[in-house]
């Protein structure tokens, strides 16, 4: 029962996407189409290239795009820097969120939101700080986080669970067209998992954000209603289906999908 948000109608088109690093090919010829309000889950064993895929989609300079393309609607993102991709509506939830000492969550997000807004509407006035702060604090507490983290250095001293929640907070504050979530479920306790999953489901169904969620475990799928489930093995998508696919992996593992 995935209702597509009628207000948003965007397409993320990934075509024949191949990525290497240090001369080694990691992602091989991946193609994927995601629409607004869709939840795609990519599963795969360790080393299959899931994280590399998402990082390269976001434009991480560590990874070299050998071939293929990324588009959001008619805009080609393939060779653009990551901040331009963000301005075009792409977001990456990091597997290991980075600490930025001294730079507060509130100030960085406000700068980010202003930058993104301005690129879409150059004449738009800067965000009113008070209003933004109220909204961000509301999002923080909706995820069970303390409001005063607004004035806290980004991710500094955060627990593993808080770091993952912080990624979701940022996603909700920036309202991207598409969000790539890299193992958002790793290291979470049951309660945090439930909270985050609920927030993701809401982002998809209510805000119409298209989500590509990468995970190793099937646990989070108990809380989500994915539109598609894909299996990535050795850098290739080897299977696509519904949640039935995930249930199969839960029982049998990845063995059947990974060619030796």
């Amino acid at each position: 029962m995935n209702k597509k948000n009628r207000k948003r109608n965007h397409t993320l088109l990934i075509k024949n996407f191949s990525v290497s690093t240090n001369g080694t090919s990691i992602v091989k010829d991946v193609s994927l189409t995601v629409k607004s309000g869709e939840l795609h889950v990519i599963m795969g064993p360790n080393g299959s290239g899931k994280s590399t895929l998402l990082n390269a989609l976001m434009g991480n300079p560590k990874y070299h795009i050998q071939s293929g393309s990324i588009k959001i609607d008619s805009t080609v993102l393939t060779n653009l820097s990551s901040d331009i991709r963000a301005k075009n509506g792409l977001f990456l939830g990091f597997q290991y969120p980075v600490e930025i000492p001294g730079a507060t969550l509130g100030s960085v997000l406000r700068m980010a939101k202003n930058a993104i807004e301005k690129s879409v509407h150059p004449q738009a006035p800067a965000l009113a700080p008070a209003e933004f702060s109220r909204e961000l604090k509301r999002i923080l507490s909706s995820l069970g986080m303390k409001e005063d983290l607004y004035s806290h250095a980004m991710n500094e001293g955060f627990s593993g669970g808080e770091k993952k929640k912080s990624e979701i907070v940022q996603m909700l504050a920036l309202q991207p067209k598409f969000a790539l979530l890299d193992e958002i479920d790793s290291g979470l306790d049951i309660d945090a998992l439930g909270t985050i999953a609920k927030a993701i489901q809401e982002a998809v169904q209510v805000h119409g954000i298209g989500v590509v969620l990468v995970t190793h475990y099937t646990r989070i799928l108990k809380y989500l209603e994915p539109d598609r489930v894909h299996v990535l093995a050795n850098g290739k998508i080897v299977a696509s289906g519904t949640r039935v696919l995930a249930e199969d992996i839960e029982v049998h593992g990845y063995g059947g999908y990974v060619s030796v």
Partner: protein
């Protein structure tokens, strides 16, 4: 000597400033010929109408200056030519500045000053002339009621001779080092600040307000005396690049913090890159007194400055927070010095430096704990941020502990802007410059937080601007 900062000049990076941009408005009544000799010193003292003891002290200090060698450590002083400098210029008439040229953070603090409405109307607005005399007098009057003395050091010598003579040169005698001797011989201008017992001055007092006749002199002499239980915060400088043809600035600051008193001395310095900024600053803190130095070195060709605190009384606390920014052709050789002379004294030194475009930042510090300073604690934290492979950071921390029952901690780090941090911020939509600014401002934030708000805002802006110019 006149400081002029127009809004156009303010947008220039200090390290790209041209000395020829500098202009003088007033003609000097007396201008010493270049070079230093007894005649020059005689003239200085004569012009100021000084008592004999001060004149004698100047001559004595001159002798000490001649005899003392240049320090062999620290920055490169080989190009410093004492004979080519001018040692005293007496400006004529009152100094007037166009309102638009008043540094932004100074303007913003007028709001807090509570200057009478009529004067504010006169002061504010385009084209109006800003006369620091007016503001200074109005402030001085309200302070006088509390018994606070806030005036130019030259004036204090005339008006409060007994108080002056009691303390002058007692914390930093001319024998201390070559530049202290030079300053004692040719000093002119500076602030004399006296806070009576139990008086708390709530508003930070700015050097800018005290500047009337004398300008940001090259040989300022500042003397601050805080009586028992008093408190004051004194602020000098501004973030806007300060141009001057005077290439040697050698100030001396002496501070006495008596029992239970609290003094904070904040400096934000952004001298143009032709200046040697060689300063001796020292405070003595007595029983349960607190002294804090907040030192931001953003400019100059070479700065050698080690704010010091002698913790002489039991329970005294000292804190030295410093921020150094070094760009192309600059060397900030700065640090701190703390001597624990009494039991249960505590000190904290936090030094942060940012080096870019081949600039060099050096931390030079000393923590000494004398025998008998039982229960003393000291913590030194040095963090250096290098923005590229050409820039340099070095550290010379000295710890000399002669009391076993004490606790000393030292930690240091050198980092560069990490690619991970840049990618993380860029994935949120920040441009490369915005991301680097966020990281650099984040790095500087622990000390920027302690500045008066207006200074903090301007400093963040300056750092962001420096970042966007970092590849130049």
């Amino acid at each position: 000597m006149k400081k002029k900062t127009s809004s156009k000049e303010r947008t220039h990076n200090a390290s790209n400033a041209h000395v020829s941009d500098f202009k003088t408005k007033t003609k000097s009544a007396y201008e010493a010929k270049n070079g230093l000799n007894q005649e020059v010193i005689h003239q200085i003292s004569e012009q100021k109408n000084e008592p004999q003891w001060m004149r004698d002290m100047r001559f004595r200090s001159y002798q000490i200056f001649i005899e003392k060698p240049l320090p062999r450590w620290g920055g490169d002083l080989s190009a410093l030519d004492f004979d080519s400098l001018s040692y005293y210029v007496r400006p004529q008439g009152q100094r007037e500045t166009a309102w638009e040229d008043v540094p932004k953070e100074i303007k913003e603090t007028f709001e807090k000053l509570g200057v009478p409405e009529a004067e504010r109307k006169f002061l504010a607005g385009t084209g109006a002339q800003f006369d620091s005399e007016v503001i200074y007098h109005s402030l001085a009057e309200s302070l006088e009621k509390k018994g606070v003395i806030f005036m130019a050091t030259d004036e204090a010598l005339q008006k409060h001779p007994v108080l002056f003579k009691k303390y002058f040169g007692t914390i930093i005698p001319p024998e201390d080092n070559k530049f202290a001797a030079l300053n004692t011989a040719v000093w002119s201008g500076g602030t004399f600040l006296y806070i009576p017992k139990g008086v708390h001055v709530d508003l930070p007092l700015q050097a800018y307000f005290r500047i009337n006749r004398e300008n940001m002199g090259q040989f300022e002499r500042t003397l601050i005396i805080a009586e028992e239980g008093s408190s004051v915060h004194y602020v000098e400088g501004c973030t806007a690049p300060t141009y001057t043809t005077n290439s040697l600035h050698s100030a001396v600051v002496e501070i006495i913090v008596k029992e239970g008193a609290r003094v904070q001395y904040t400096t934000v310095q952004n001298w143009s890159n032709n200046v040697y900024n060689l300063v001796t600053k020292r405070a003595v803190a007595y029983k349960n007194a607190e002294m804090m130095w907040l030192d931001c070195n953003l400019g100059s060709k070479l700065t050698m400055k080690y704010p010091a605190i002698y913790l002489r009384g039991e329970g005294a606390r000292g804190e030295i927070q410093s921020l150094a920014l070094s760009g192309n052709g600059q060397h900030q050789d700065a640090g701190a010095k703390v001597i624990h002379c009494a039991p249960n004294t505590h000190s904290t030194i936090m030094a942060r430096s940012i080096s870019k475009n081949g600039g060099r930042s050096s931390y030079r510090g000393l923590v000494r704990v004398l025998r008998g300073a039982v229960g003393s604690t000291s913590r030194v934290v040095c963090h250096a941020l290098l923005l590229d492979g050409k820039s340099i950071s070095d550290t010379y921390p000295l710890t000399d502990v002669r009391e076993q029952k004490s606790s000393i901690a030292h930690e240091a780090s050198v980092t560069k802007i990490s690619d991970d941090q840049l990618f993380y911020l860029s994935s949120r939509g920040l441009s490369e410059d915005e991301a680097a600014s966020a990281i650099v401002n984040g790095f500087a934030s622990p000390i920027v937080k302690k500045l008066p708000m207006e200074y903090g805002l301007e400093l963040n802006r300056l750092l962001a601007m420096q970042i966007s110019e970092r590849k130049k």
